[in-house]
């Protein structure tokens, strides 16, 4: 039976990722079975690294419930933080693009926020806001904010002179120029920033979670909880889910770009 050209090309595209996943799983098995005392527990479950096929051992209904609740909290935190970061970051990017003096005044603060590790900022934020949902979201906004602001600024700064001239020749107002030129012209770089920020929002919500010792645990605190358990399976499952959440955010940002930019943007 002949294979259609479409499926042949899809197979060709999948070859490299499948190979890398195979290597990863192989290394995982190698690590699990080469560690001393990995299976020294009384019931034979893995103490350090569970092999892939035994990943879900020890995952009782209580743990599943905990993981589901923690995932909900972390996703809600990351999503709320990302939406706020998108609005504030884009607005600040446009504001900085409006005048060099604004950029010079704001840029150093943005850099300072970006280079200060979230693990350092989080205790300060928790101290100020208390261990609330708002504080969790604040941490996420701080982490996810920079790529959006800087990419929107870069997008506006990269607008060709001839496009700017068009709007001058038309006699367009400032608002028209921002709405009809700046915003659409900066969309490609905005979405490049969104992909980075989407991943950072998830990281921010999980890393920040370590400091929230009261209320329901997010994925960060739950990983810490399972870390203290003798069985390593639930900890690995939680880590895997955290990765999948990050991947889902990243993929959603890519999908939005595909919908709103790819039809017309051919770099």
């Amino acid at each position: 039976m002949s294979r259609s050209p479409m499926s042949a090309s899809r197979m060709k595209r999948l070859r490299a990722p499948l190979a890398s996943v195979s290597v990863f799983v192989g290394l995982w098995y190698g690590l699990a079975y080469s560690l001393d005392n990995n299976f020294a527990s009384s019931d034979g479950s893995a103490l350090i690294v569970p092999p892939p096929h035994r990943l879900f051992e020890g995952l009782n209904s209580r743990n599943v419930e905990r993981i589901a609740t923690a995932t909900g909290i972390s996703v809600a935190t990351a999503l709320t933080g990302l939406v706020i970061a998108v609005v504030l970051g884009s607005a600040l990017g446009l504001f900085m693009a409006s005048a060099r003096s604004v950029e010079r005044a704001v840029w150093p603060w943005l850099i300072a926020m970006q280079v200060t590790p979230v693990i350092v900022l989080t205790p300060i934020i928790v101290r100020i806001f208390g261990p609330s949902f708002a504080a969790r979201v604040f941490v996420t906004v701080v982490v996810a904010f920079f790529p959006l602001a800087s990419n929107v600024l870069f997008g506006v700064r990269s607008i060709p002179q001839s496009w700017r001239d068009l709007f001058v020749l038309r006699g367009a107002s400032r608002v028209e120029t921002i709405r009809e030129l700046w915003i659409p012209a900066s969309l490609p770089s905005f979405f490049a920033g969104l992909r980075i920020s989407a991943g950072l929002a998830v990281i921010g919500s999980i890393v920040g979670d370590f400091f929230f010792t009261r209320g329901d645990a997010g994925l960060g605190r739950l990983i810490n909880y399972f870390f203290l358990d003798t069985r390593s399976g639930p900890m690995f499952v939680t880590a895997l889910i955290a990765s999948l959440v990050g991947f889902a955010f990243f993929a959603a940002a890519g999908l939005l770009r595909k919908l709103f930019v790819d039809p017309w943007h051919k770099p």
Binding site: P160, S162, W163, D165, L166, V168, L169, R170, G171, A172, L181, P184, A185, L187, P263, W264, H265, K266
Partner: protein
């Protein structure tokens, strides 16, 4: 009629234009030829009020003249039909825009994105975008320089047809002597460092001008004359 009077300009204290004056009558096409860097584009940007001159003034030009850039400068997020209306803005006459698109052979492509058009189609769309705002004056900065010869000649014919209908005045900056002579009523030659107008050649071929004019002996002779003035201006 519009006048550019005694315009001078410099970049970082290097003179780009020195005491340039130019008068363009209604419906007249004036071509400016000159070597690279002689200030042709600077003069056009000053005429369009995209650049303020250090000295001199521009009078009689409408607030929003038509302007054709060296590259098509299409907005990639707008489809062909919307790009055609960008300069006209909210005052765009939809029927007029559509008729212009039909006229230049883009009627069937109005829902396409700019990246789906050929180089010639993009330039035709750029021309439509300029004329859709119904300007009395069109300023064109080497608009056909990047096109192949066949497409360039098609664009010349297209432009002359539209000019015959709308009777706009035009200042065309170009490197191509044959293009200047074929399209213009007058050809001005500029010399560089700083840019000045050094010669004026009147083109008296009757309008409408047919494609066959390009192979006429008188046309070739005039091209030769302008090319000679251009060579001496560049020396």
């Amino acid at each position: 009629m519009f006048n550019i009077t005694s315009v001078s300009h410099s970049y970082n204290h290097v003179p780009a234009l020195a005491d340039v004056s130019l008068t363009v009558a209604p419906g007249e096409i004036v071509a400016i030829v000159g070597p690279s860097g002689c200030g042709k584009s600077t003069l056009l940007r000053i005429a369009a009020a995209l650049l303020a001159p250090e000295l001199g003034e521009v009078k009689g030009l409408e607030a929003r003249p038509g302007y054709i850039f060296q590259e098509p400068a299409l907005l990639p997020w707008l489809r062909v039909r919307d790009n055609a209306s960008v300069l006209a803005g909210s005052s765009a006459d939809a029927h007029f825009v559509d008729s212009l698109l039909e006229r230049v052979g883009l009627g069937a492509h109005r829902h396409k994105w700019p990246h789906e058009l050929s180089g010639g189609m993009k330039m035709r769309l750029s021309l439509v975008r300029t004329l859709a705002a119904r300007p009395n004056v069109v300023l064109a900065d080497e608009p056909f320089g990047a096109l192949d010869q066949i497409t360039r000649h098609q664009m010349h014919d297209e432009l002359l047809r539209l000019h015959a209908e709308q009777r706009f005045s035009m200042v065309l900056v170009t490197h191509a002597v044959d293009e200047a002579v074929f399209l213009a009523d007058r050809v001005l030659t500029m010399s560089p460092a700083p840019g000045r107008i050094t010669a004026t050649s009147t083109v008296s071929f009757a309008r409408p001008r047919a494609a066959a004019l390009r192979y006429d002996a008188a046309f070739a002779a005039l091209c030769g004359t302008v090319a000679t003035t251009l060579r001496s201006a560049s020396a």
